[in-house]
């Protein structure tokens, strides 16, 4: 884990001028010191932590490794502290740090946490690969949801209805998949449900100029009500309409044989591969294509966009429908892609976490992916720590995505700025 620090260091070459702000430095330093005290000094000196990096089925079987808990946790915390110092040094020069820093910092602190949690437990060990696999898996609906939010908000429509779009996608995927008896048919149906929700949002927002937050919140309620109603009536009376279907894992030849990362990234089902494609395509399209430039223009300065001949409301409707479709596809995760039948309110607030991932990812697909993975990791960690019995109440781990988002929007750590014309109806 520490090896990546040295590799990543030279990455911060681009240095735009930034305001001199010490907030991030202080926040990073405080967390690193806490980590040093609690995870480092708080661990008994004699104990060890065992990490399992491979599973029996892997092609290359790496041995488990055991580290002295206290020393490892102290070293990782010091790495975190050093990174905080680097942030301070850069801040003093009014320069920004690259994206690598928060990632490496997060890995160091999380490593310290894991070392501490696994310390002195001979019977159990930290399942590193398992942890990463479930992080990615749990992040899937969040990434799709955050991409949907990004696409809508970049064009100036606030999409609070991600939750509803995910739920609608999950519902229709289960329904259509069960009727067809094939999970992949359900996967095709899911985006349609999401797109319909997106269409309603878009019409109310652009035609009737209704407050987009109002429409979003009410649409979420409506979808919860509709899906629960049909679940309790039609689906319960006819069990055939709601069956657990599964999608097989499709290991990619060669790539899936890479140690540790191979099984995590390249032995997944179709939906996860669609996710890689969606993130890459959206990142390029939004920031490198003519279409993306137009979308962003509509979201930042609709009047200017209109002046040069871009149809503002049509762009917004199209983007919102497309965004809804992407979120709907993400909704398929809950049912057909996980091998589960539909259940009442089964998205359980994931749409709102996706919204948080979008904000933390600063309205970019790449950032959304990183933030969603972080949230997925927090979720996976909660499950694993719950399994081995951790001293941290699981509720606090569950809170971290939400707390991180509040810190981000309040500008305590970094600063995220929404598109300028977000939520403002365009009236000629």
């Amino acid at each position: 884990m520490t090896a990546t620090v040295a590799d990543a260091a030279p990455a911060a070459s681009t240095a735009p001028v930034a305001a001199k702000t010490w907030r991030s430095t202080i926040a990073l330093a405080v967390i690193a010191v806490l980590s040093l005290v609690i995870f480092g000094l708080g661990t008994g000196s004699g104990s060890t932590t065992t990490f399992v990096v491979a599973r029996g089925t892997d092609f290359v079987h790496l041995p488990d490794f055991t580290v002295p808990s206290r020393v490892a946790a102290i070293v990782l915390s010091l790495v975190g502290l050093a990174l905080a110092g680097w942030t301070g040094y850069r801040a003093n020069q009014r320069r920004k740090v690259g994206l690598w820093l928060p990632i490496v910092y997060g890995m160091a602190i999380m490593g310290a946490l894991l070392t501490w949690a696994g310390a002195g437990r001979d019977a159990t060990s930290i399942q590193l690969t398992g942890l990463l696999t479930s992080s990615l898996f749990l992040a899937v609906p969040l990434v799709f949801g955050a991409l949907a939010g990004t696409l809508c908000e970049r064009s100036g429509i606030v999409n609070i209805a991600i939750e509803g779009q995910l739920l609608a996608g999950a519902f229709l995927a289960a329904l259509v998949g069960s009727i067809a008896g094939n999970a992949y048919v359900g996967l095709i149906a899911a985006p349609i449900a999401g797109a319909l929700v997106g269409l309603v949002l878009a019409i109310f927002a652009t035609k009737y100029w209704v407050n987009q937050i109002v429409v979003g919140v009410v649409l979420n309620m409506l979808i919860v009500g509709l899906t629960s109603f049909f679940f309790s009536t039609v689906m319960t009376e006819n069990g055939d309409l709601n069956q657990p279907l599964g999608m097989a894992k499709l290991p990619i030849p060669l790539l899936s044989k890479i140690p540790v990362l191979g099984p995590v990234l390249f032995n997944q089902n179709l939906l996860v591969y669609l996710l890689y494609v969606a993130v890459a395509v959206m990142q390029v399209m939004l920031f490198r294509s003519r279409w993306g430039l137009r979308v962003r223009a509509v979201g930042e300065h609709p009047k200017a966009a209109d002046t040069v001949g871009i149809n503002v409301n049509r762009t917004r409707v199209r983007n919102t429908v497309l965004g809804g479709a992407i979120a709907g596809l993400g909704g398929a995760f809950f049912t057909v892609a996980s091998g589960l039948a539909f259940g009442k309110e089964m998205t359980a607030g994931k749409g709102y976490i996706a919204l948080a991932a979008m904000i933390l990812g600063r309205w970019s697909p790449r950032g959304a992916l990183a933030a969603a993975l972080l949230f997925g990791f927090a979720d996976a960690l909660r499950a694993q720590l719950g399994a081995i019995g951790s001293p941290i109440p699981s509720q606090f781990l569950a809170m971290t995505p939400y707390l991180a988002t509040i810190f981000a929007v309040a500008g305590l750590v970094g600063h995220s700025r929404p598109p300028a014309a977000e939520g403002v109806p365009y009236k000629k």
């Binding site: 407050n211 009410v218 649409l219 009500g225 509709l226 109603f229 039609v234 509040i406 929007v409």
Partner: protein, 408 residues
């Protein structure tokens, strides 16, 4: 941006001298916003009916041989709708099958009981909307308020009146604290209140889940994460005798509605809040502090939402669990929107939605329909209310002259 935009449409029509008096009255009724509200409710009920028909087993079975015996389908539709709407009426207004008078009006008192927390939280949200703040966080504020109030209720022992008073104040303070956080973050850092309040909903939920795992909150001898029962001294007294659930909280909610009206319409502070909501730049130029208005609004809104938490923990459920707040916070948003952020409107909207919710058990038993249909109708009503031009187009109502310019 604010919900304010939708509320200004009942302007007197200056001219129309040629029209006869009666036609003029009819036209004003057709153009009025109450007509839109009424028609939105009608449309939602109709769509709800379509869903009920669609979900009904008997209708679907008879529809399979529709062309040979269409009468069967229509009678099945009639049965399904008849039992659904009569169950709603029996569950929310009057129980027509009851033997005694008390049992007959019980549904009505139940409606008012269900409306109580909606009035509190709806008032809080309404004040927020009028001050230009979109507070999605009533859910968290209700829960934290309920937590503090319940803790005062079961952990302290005090004489009767005082205990209730302190528990109610505890509810308000808990909610106010949860409203203060997004308020101060918005005022100091510009963090958008929608995002912060959504996040605080979940933080509050996990916080309460954690508290309920502690010995101080865990009920003795129970494996479920629920708190001990609130002491008798801290419970709202029943105002219509022990056979009805209606409690003092309802009267307190009405008092708060009057208080909210006075605050917004008659007090200097209310004027300031409204001015900031209507036009922040103008308010700032006039020397008003946007930051303090934001914080005050969120504290009042949070406090009222916290009081909504008192209805379950001190009135009906009488203990705390992680699901105490139910979906109150989101229901209250619909109440505030339907009530157009005005106290009287909010009370009426809360009674309407309280009635829909009160009819839930009867719908389940008498018509074999899940409660979720109520949520659908509620959401549809608000969706239609939010877009008056849509409702007008559906029912071919004339649009008021000025609204052709600025719809909603």
């Amino acid at each position: 941006m604010s919900a304010e935009g939708q509320t200004t449409e009942a302007t007197p029509d200056e001219e129309a001298p040629r029209e006869s008096r009666s036609r003029q009255v009819l036209r004003e009724i057709a153009e009025s916003s109450s007509m839109v509200v009424l028609m939105a409710i009608v449309a939602s009920m109709v769509i709800g009916g379509v869903l009920i028909i669609f979900a009904d087993q008997a209708v679907r079975e008879s529809a399979a041989y529709f062309f040979s015996r269409p009468g069967d389908t229509f009678s099945a539709i009639g049965d399904a709708l008849g039992s659904a709407y009569s169950a709603m009426f029996n569950g929310a207004v009057l129980n027509t099958q009851a033997e005694s008078f008390a049992a007959m009006i019980k549904p009505l008192t139940q409606t008012l009981t269900m409306a109580t927390p909606l009035i509190f939280a709806g008032l809080g949200l309404g004040i927020g909307f009028r001050a230009g703040l979109f507070n999605i966080g009533a859910q968290g504020q209700v829960l934290i308020g309920a937590t503090v109030g319940a803790y005062v209720g079961f952990a302290w022992s005090l004489p009767a009146g005082l205990h209730l008073l302190l528990a109610v104040i505890g509810c308000a303070l808990g909610g106010a604290l949860w409203g203060f956080i997004p308020g101060v973050l918005k005022a100091r850092t510009g963090a958008h209140e929608v995002i912060v309040t959504i996040m605080l909903n979940y933080i509050g939920l996990y916080l309460v889940a954690w508290l309920l795992s502690l010995d101080a909150f865990q009920r003795e001898g129970s494996d479920n994460p629920i708190s001990p029962m609130v002491a008798d001294t801290a419970q709202y007294p029943k105002i219509l005798g022990a056979q009805f659930n209606l409690h003092l909280g309802f009267l307190l909610a009405l008092a708060c509605a009057w208080g909210a009206w006075w605050l917004m319409e008659r007090s200097t502070l209310g004027f300031r809040l409204r001015a900031v909501g209507a036009n922040p730049s103008a308010a700032r130029t006039a020397g008003m502090s946007i930051a303090s208005a934001t914080i005050i609004t969120m504290v009042i809104a949070g406090g009222l939402a916290g009081l909504a938490g008192s209805a379950p923990v001190l009135g009906t459920q009488k203990f705390l669990s992680a699901s105490t707040a139910g979906s109150l916070g989101f229901d209250a948003i619909t109440v505030a929107l339907l009530g157009r952020s005005r106290p009287l409107g909010i009370v009426l909207a809360a009674i309407l939605f309280g009635g829909l919710q009160a009819s839930g058990p009867t719908l389940q038993v008498n018509a074999n329909l899940p409660v979720d249909i109520v949520v659908v109708i509620q959401a549809l009503i608000v969706l239609f209310i939010a877009a008056p031009p849509l409702v007008r187009a559906m029912f071919r109502l004339p649009a008021p002259a000025h609204e052709k310019e600025v719809a909603a």
